[in-house]
């Protein structure tokens, strides 16, 4: 294996590992459930994407062909990560999970529980302090 190829693969792997670690630290340290939904998506797409691109380059160097198996995994994760986050957020809204005070549009949670769409009267009513800033 040439030195350049090893360098590229190692840097891609380490970058992916760093993203996964940061995502897991975010999952542990963020305050609210709805905020915590943000963290693992970065770990999933960026972290695993980098590791998978690194393994693609590695397989091309050792086996001689481009294996699209890793590309399939990345595509699958990119497609299904928003679906998972949507369903978990919906389940949390139905169970009335405690919301941070800074969250906007909290009045729409009750409407979503009744499965009613928001009307034009429910304009964006965030808290007034952040609107002044």
């Amino acid at each position: 294996m040439s030195f350049m190829a090893e360098l590229i693969i190692s840097s891609l792997l380490i970058l992916g590992g760093l993203f996964v670690l940061v995502g897991s630290i975010g999952l542990l340290r963020l305050q609210d459930l709805y905020v915590r939904l943000h963290a693992p998506t970065k770990a999933t797409t960026l972290g695993l994407g980098s590791i998978l691109i690194g393994s693609m380059v590695y397989m091309y160097n050792t086996q001689g062909y481009i294996s699209v198996n890793e590309l399939l995994i990345t595509l699958f994760l990119v497609i299904t990560a928003p679906v998972t986050a949507h369903i978990l957020a919906k389940a949390a809204m139905h169970h009335r999970v405690k919301v941070m005070e800074r969250t906007r549009n909290q009045h729409l949670i009750e409407k979503a529980r009744m499965q009613m769409p928001p009307t034009s009267a429910d304009a964006d009513q965030g808290d007034k302090e952040s609107d002044k800033a």
Binding site: L21, G47, I51, I87, A91
Partner: protein
Amino acid sequence: MLDIAVIVVASMLSLALVLNLWRLIIGPHVVDRILALDTMYINSIALILLYGIYNKTPLYFEAALLIAMLGFVSSVAFGKYLLRGDIIE
């Protein structure tokens, strides 16, 4: 150099797995625990891929694809059960 990099990344991923386990234990609500479980699935996919690179075989990528699908389906099934009380109505 590649062996050292693989060992470093494997230790980072193991630390991430332990942090997810901590969130699984202390999560005050069920949805926290489902999120932690889903993230543990993703981290174990990465760990399996690293093991395949370490052993220089392309054999483990099918296992990684399987675990990705299983993780997604199990998370959606948990969420559906929380929403409706039933997985398939």
